[in-house]
Every structure is written in C-alpha cells, then in structure tokens.
Symmetry: C2
Subunit: 347 residues, 2 copies
C-alpha cells in the first residue's frame, strides 16, 4: 500500500491481443519485459542463478510442474517415469500427477523408501511445503530433480546460497501474495527440456495470460527497486510480519500446554539481509501430541486446515496457512487458544 | 480504437490477489462480473442460452476442452472414452487428446467412419474450424457432444438460432481478437460435469488469471453496450471487414485461374443483423485442383498455412488465417496473385 501508485497497471483495449510475445524466444509466449524483471529480482535477492538458463512462464507453477513432468518423461526412454517426494510433501503433487491418468509418469509417493530401478523424478521443495524444512534430494540415484523454490525468498527463510539447479520452479503467488494472477516461471538449463515444457503449455492453454504477465512485470520491478530501501522493501515488511505471526503462534501453542507441537528451525546466515535469521514458513506444520485426526478436530473448532495424511504423513499433523488476511490469522489464534488440552477435543 | 477510452483497464497493485473469486459458486475462481458480462453479451447477440447453466471459465477454450474431456470421461464407466470429430477437424484436437497419453480418453479421429461400440465424445465445431461449414453431430448414437462455438458470432456467420446444447465452449479470443488474454468459457447444463471441469482447472492451474478476467469483463461489456450502435458496434465493423477480405480473396483466387478452390457458403437469415447473410469464416479452406502438397508449395512462396492433413483431410487443402493484421493479409493476397497456374509451383 505504501508504494501503491507505482504498482498500478493500465492496459489499453487494443494491447496484448496476440498469442505471441516473442517468436525468437524458445518460450514464444513469454513477455520479454517479464523475463527481464525475473532476472533482475533474482540478481538482487541472490536466491537463484538465471544465467545460461531458459525462462518458461506458466499459468502458476502448478502448470509448470506438470509441464516439467511432461518434458522429462517425454525425453525419457522408460515410461511411466516415477515421481517421488520426501514425506511430508506438497499435498497437490499426488493429485497433479494422477488426475489425467497419464501413461508418461506415475506418482510413487515417499522418496525415502523408493526403490524401483530405473529413471525417476524427485520433487525437492525447499523450504518444504508443508513443514518448512530446508531440503536436498534423498534418492540420489542419478534421477532428475525438480526444485520447487516457491518459498525461497528472504522473508520466509535465510538465503544461504544462490541456487543453480538444472530445473527450478518459482511463482509470483508467494512473493508478495499475488496468487490470483496465476504466474509462475521455470529456470531451465537444458534447451530440450525447456522446449518440451513450452510444448506442454502450448497444447494445454496456448500460452499464458498477457495481462498477468505485464502486471507481474510491474510489481516484480517495484519489488526489485525497493528491496534495499528499508522503509519500502516488501521483503523487510514481509519478514517482520511473518516473524511476528510466528512468535504469536508459538506463544499461543505454549499457552495451550501439552496439546500442540510446532517444528523448530535452525538459524542461518541470510546473504540478503546480511545477518543470522530463522525460517518463518508461510504455513505452520502443527501437530498434536496424542494420536488424533487433527484436521477433523480443528474443523470442529471451525479452524480449516489441510490434514497431514494428504501430505503422505500422519493425521496428527495439519498444515495451517500463515499468510492469510490479518483478521483470519487473529481469529485462528483466538480459536486455538480455546483448546487448552487434548480433552477439549472430546465431545 | 473508436471506443478506446472505454476499454482501458486499470488495476491497482493490491487488487485481485486471492486465488478465490466467489466461494459460493461451483466455479469458485470465476469473477462474478465476468459471468454477468458473458450472460449479457449472449442475451444481446442471441447466439446461446445461458439460463439454467453453469459458467466455467478457463485459460482459453483449449483448457476448457481438456477439462470437458476429463469431466465426461471421469463420469463415464467405460474408459478410455473415444473422442471423434468429422473431417476436416480443428487441427489441435488430436494433439490435445494425445499429448499426456491419458488413460481416460483416446483420440479416434474421423467421426463419420467411427464404429466402436460404447460411449464416446463427439466434437462439433460450428462454424467449423478449418472449413467454415455449419455442423451438426454425425455419429448420433447417444454419445456426449461438445459444441465448440468459438466462431458462432454474427461477424463470422448468420446467427440462425439460439444454441441451447448441454455443453458449449466459447472464447474471448475470437470475438474482437483478444487471444493474448487466454479467456474462454463453457456453458454447462449438468452440475456434475461443471464440477468435474472445475476440478480439472483447479488441479491443472489453480484457476484462471484474474487480470484477464476483469479485462475481458470490461471489453465484453463494451461490445454488448455498443452492439446495436451501427457506428460503434464491433460486430458491424468485424462483419464489413471480414466480408471485404473474403470478397478480395475470392477475386484473387479467380484471377489465378484454375489453380485454387474455395468453399461456397449458403446464405441464411441472421437474427442479430435482421437480414440474409453469408458465412465469412475467420480462415479460408484453400484447395488446389491438382493433387499437391499445398502447404509445402505455399511455403515456398513464403505463405505460411496449416496443411489439411493436420485436420484429418487431404494435403491438397490448407487453412489460411483471415483475421491477422491488415498488412499481413495484403501481403498474402499479393503473394497468392503471383501464382497463376499449377505450373508456377514447379521449380
């Protein structure tokens, strides 16, 4: 809101009409200004290498994740290609990998116990959704790795290194919260993978909204320009905001006695902020100490969460959104406070 | 350009941030204003019934087509469900039905010779892409029919009836040409089909760009408001424009002697314009009289087209875009004029 005049987008009626953005680019539907804005932001934050990489824009990183699976499995001799992720994993991977019953790839769940021979894809989500941990591949048998780095921004976690993986996914949704724009991007080293991802998006939706692309451009450019100005930087603001929410959540969990658990995160030196920071994930991986269906129990208290079983984990855990509107978060803390011990769950 | 001030869209930085548009709607990511704009335009043009139907918005009608296949096949007992279309068909259906190698549905091509027993989906594209003909189902064995009505607008073809089919697809791209926005909509009678389509889009891309939705709303509302004002109506303008292009193309084809063929379209009474009109498709289904690979031959003359074989038809036909920029169309006519007889194709 502080820099609102500079984040407005004005689109005349006759602009952005073509399917095409830049026919000389592998990703022919990517607006050139957006590509520049993405590179500038990564350069300034220091969280990912963009040099010698192709940028593929998608309708959110969901579409890009499916585009990446399509690309890697199309280029693989063995089909269906197994897709795995270490538990607890992003709850939507399983649905995304299964809903169209593709013969190209197959969801195989937990990466740690995965022992099928042959090629595979491992999803490495870091910081991890839903539990906020910093992740590395666990299979390590020469398969393909997709790094889902949606939350690798300095308000959520210390930027300890410039990620330079072969296939990295980012999204506009989780930087300043513009989920409604449905803009994600992949940084892809191998041109053949990039081309196949572009093919997927071409067939799936003939490109990506130009309106969203130019709005993302405007806003990303402002985030870049202001990121070192303490009073205007969204990353400073976001860091203080989510840190304070986490502190309050931990206080409430403490107040409820032995009812709930929360993960603890190690401190690390953040290259962007130039100091030691902790991780403050965009969601809380809340557990209860007793064996319980925590999602159901919280629902009875009118708290909507995502059950741990949907993340390949246990029903005694849930994922709670930490980046909703202020009033929702306040109400969540308030309702949580009314649960003082496991017996409160009893009818 | 004449009504340009009224088609501008201004989006403040903090608006349209949520994934959600209307959680009470089956299509929870559909902006309510867009739904109203769609209904108002169909009501004014008289080309489709919107009453007692669910509107599902998509990232172009391509995504909706795949959502519809997912929905109908998920709800069908027999899988894979056959998908057919009468030749010549929209060249992209085959790729869309095949690329992820889904076990839910299978492309079976030409509808006229389709004789597998059991349930099936027939695509009825009317006016047809690529040949502009008005179509009805041809299988007629109780299967599901998807009406792709992208071009059922009065500048392209007489509006002879208010279409009231169970599943109809429309797109923002082909009304005033806003292809870059990637907005399509489905009008769906059966709530179970609508819900499954929404499920597809939820998993595939977690909704549809809000920026594109509000821009489409603004522009569709202007098209509706001005559609009866002769000096401002886009449909009047578009009709005169494409009619004149067709007249000039027919003149050029005539000049080239016995080289090329073009379809002839019957006149019909257009309820919108209140007079007899012909069809003026957005593409020309150009043929050559001799057996030839017309796409290749035209490419040698630097005319890019889509070969008839990609539409399940013969290489002696190509699909030529009729709604590109003025200078492209002029250049196309100019190059076509240089081909006076089939011998010109020889090296």
């Amino acid at each position: 809101m502080k820099i609102k005049e500079r984040c407005v987008v004005v689109i005349p009626g006759w602009e952005l009409m073509s399917y095409f953005s830049d026919t000389t680019n592998v990703c022919w539907f990517l607006q050139q200004d957006l590509a520049e804005a993405i590179k500038a932001l990564h350069r300034e934050i220091g969280n990912a290498a963009t040099e010698e990489r192709y940028i593929v824009v998608g309708t959110g990183s969901s579409q890009l994740c499916q585009a990446a699976w399509f690309a890697l499995s199309s280029l693989s001799e063995a089909k269906p290609l197994s897709i795995v992720a270490a538990v607890p994993y992003y709850s939507t991977y399983e649905e995304q990998a299964s809903y169209v019953q593709s013969q190209l790839y197959k969801w195989e769940g937990e990466a740690r116990t995965f022992n099928k021979p042959g090629p595979y894809i491992e999803m490495v989500t870091s910081p991890n959704n839903p539990d906020g941990t910093i992740r590395e591949p666990v299979v390590n048998r020469g398969g393909k790795v997709i790094y889902d780095l949606a939350y690798y921004w300095p308000h959520y976690t210390p930027i300890t290194r410039r990620q330079d993986q072969d296939l990295m996914l980012f999204t506009f949704s989780k930087i300043a919260g513009h989920a409604g724009s449905r803009i994600g991007w992949a940084l892809v080293k191998d041109i053949e993978v990039a081309k196949k991802m572009v093919q997927y998006i071409t067939i799936n939706s003939i490109g990506v909204s130009k309106e969203s692309q130019i709005r993302a451009t405007t806003i990303l450019n402002e985030l870049t320009k202001t990121c070192r100005i303490k009073s205007e930087s969204f990353f400073e603001y976001g860091y203080e905001k989510i840190k304070s929410r986490w502190e309050r959540l931990r206080w409430v969990v403490d107040k409820t006695g032995d009812t709930f658990t929360l993960p603890n995160y190690p401190q690390a030196f953040c290259n962007f902020f130039g100091k030691n920071n902790s991780t403050f994930p965009a969601f809380a991986w809340l557990g209860c100490k007793e064996e319980n269906d925590l999602e159901r129990l919280l629902k009875e208290k009118k708290v909507l969460t995502r059950g741990g079983d949907r993340c390949g984990s246990d029903k005694k855990y849930v994922r709670v959104n930490m980046i909703g509107p202020n009033e929702d978060f306040e109400e969540f803390l308030h309702r949580l406070l009314t649960i003082r011990n496991p017996n409160c769950f009893e009818p």
